[in-house]
Symmetry: C2
């Protein structure tokens, strides 16, 4: 695992692709769907039941996620199963969670140093 850190050389196109990926993950419902899928493959119906919105809405977001290669689609008879295709998204979530946690902790410590 080597560090790259050569972002200075990112072309505008590459930058747009990265932004696109972030924007894809920047919707609570999509994150929610991905989170449910982390336990394993699910049908559209199951997903619709798990997250609380309409089935067409779920289908729309699933389509986006598939278009960008984040989930895979498998049809079996009448029902369609989606699954995580790119597990790196969970790595991303972990990093963000860590960052947010650190942020809240530092705010907490500031409060402690004032009140404690």
């Amino acid at each position: 695992m080597k560090k790259t850190n050569d972002h200075q050389k990112m072309t505008p196109e590459a930058l747009a692709l990265v932004a696109e990926r972030f924007r894809l993950l920047g919707e609570p419902l999509r994150l929610n769907i991905l989170q449910k899928l982390q336990a394993g493959e699910m049908s559209v119906g199951e997903i619709t039941e798990a997250v609380e919105t309409s089935q067409p809405n779920v289908s729309k977001h699933l389509k986006m996620l598939q278009t960008y290669g984040v989930v895979s689609r498998r049809q079996e008879g009448n029902t369609v199963y989606y699954a995580i295709a790119d597990p790196s998204i969970f790595e991303l979530c972990d990093v963000v969670c860590g960052s947010l946690q650190g942020r809240f902790e530092s705010q907490y410590n500031k409060m402690r140093s004032v009140f404690g």
Copy 2:
């Protein structure tokens, strides 16, 4: 460094916070600004010159980035300097870049296996 993988237990609020962070990074101009700042602290004027848009637009995005704790703000006389406050964003970019690269490579290999 331990693996968490307990996303099942994420509350809707936490999920919204994570999505918010992704959305913040999901704008090419903001990513561009952050990329420029990776070299070190810069004034608003310098940033405006580096990325190509109006100064008010830059100020607006800088404000968002600061609000969410991604950059810090330091005023010296008339000019204001911004700097990266949360380097984890570059880690995020690295992960995304790796994922995208893998995706293109696999498509490339598919093409090769068809045409080659």
